[in-house]
């Protein structure tokens, strides 16, 4: 091996060592993600850090107490200033408003799927935590709240009084008297 080969090898090893240190530092500095991919178009697994806001309040200044106490659509104003509507939580067919409302006006981290559809960008929150030191919590407050109000259920959406009342009038297709096609 010539002296130039030795020098080149040393340079390569040094570069690899530096890259390893940088990669390690980058890994440690990134939040640990735990969200599950759903394989959706335009889906990106991300951890958002930001402040919980009532979106109507944030945009229009129409601000009831405590972000509307679960009756308002909520979002995150992220650290880079973006407003992200949180439209979906961990309960089937339900949002994450019950999970977020207890953090109204507070900084949180949200692990989930950012759906960047050209028509609209929305966020599906799967897990939340109040700080990097806190444990991640699943976003299932809607179901907990529902069960506390109505009792145990296998599928809340089939047992919900508002759903049953509406579909008893209109049918599953939304038009009275119109029957679903037979399988």
């Amino acid at each position: 091996m010539t002296p130039s080969h030795v020098a080149f090898r040393a340079e390569v090893l040094t570069a690899l060592a530096i890259l390893s240190v940088l990669a390690g530092a980058l890994t440690l500095s990134r939040p640990c993600t735990a969200a599950d991919s759903w394989g959706l178009p335009n889906e990106k697994i991300v951890v958002l850090k930001g402040t919980v806001v009532d979106i109507a309040c944030h945009l229009k200044g129409d601000c009831p107490a405590n972000c509307g106490d679960g009756k308002r659509q909520l979002g995150l104003v992220t650290d880079d200033g973006k407003l992200r509507p949180v439209v979906k939580g961990g309960t089937d067919f339900a949002g994450a408003h019950r999970d977020l409302v207890s953090s109204c006006g507070k900084q949180i981290e949200a692990d989930g799927l950012l759906i960047e559809n050209p028509a609209m960008t929305v966020f599906f929150a799967q897990k939340l935590r109040a700080s990097p030191q806190a444990a991640w919590q699943d976003t299932n407050a809607f179901l907990s709240h529902w069960k506390a109000r109505y009792g145990e259920t296998k599928e809340w959406m089939r047992d919900d009084p508002a759903v049953r009342e509406k579909l008893a009038i209109t049918g599953v297709l939304g038009i009275p008297g119109l029957a679903p096609p037979k399988p």
Binding site: G70, K71, P85, A119, F142, M157, V163, L173
Partner: protein, 150 residues
């Protein structure tokens, strides 16, 4: 002097923190809204935007009701595929699972309201439903009942 500072300094910090927090809750960058008239179908935002399932008309009506009652935002999708997330519907101050939002699911409507566009989302505050044709998008013959076929 030290006594005065010991009172004034924490008070100033508290006022600054409060104002800073309030600024975060109400956007300092909020633009004036644009007056718009939107015509389209009322849809479930999650199913429509995520494309997780077929999300139009009679075939998806039951699922759209489930999602509206579950607190997922309701949107209006126009003929060009634009989606407008409805944050107020006429006199309803709330926008999660309100009676009127549930009633108009899957309907074809024309509405007047204020539009705010922010970070890839069109947010709509509807003053008036100018026209409500009910459910006219008959998709069930082709798609059945989505998602569970019952």
């Amino acid at each position: 002097m030290r006594n005065v500072l010991s009172i004034v300094l924490p008070a100033a910090l508290a006022v600054g923190f409060t104002l800073g927090t309030a600024r975060m809750l109400v956007s300092a960058e909020t633009q004036a809204p644009t007056r718009v008239t939107v015509t389209g179908e009322v849809v479930d935002t999650w199913c429509s935007i995520s494309q997780i399932m077929y999300a139009e008309g009679t075939a998806h009506h039951q699922c759209a009701i489930w999602c509206a009652v579950g607190g997922i935002p309701v949107s209006i999708r126009d003929k060009d595929g634009n989606h407008y997330m409805v944050l107020r519907l006429e006199s309803e101050a709330d926008n999660v699972a309100t009676p009127r939002l549930i009633t108009i699911q899957s309907h074809s409507v024309t509405v007047d309201g204020d539009l705010y566009e922010r970070d890839g989302v069109k947010y709509l505050f509807v003053d008036k439903v100018a026209d409500d044709k009910g459910i006219v998008n008959m998709t069930h013959a082709q798609y059945g009942v989505v998602p569970f076929g019952e």
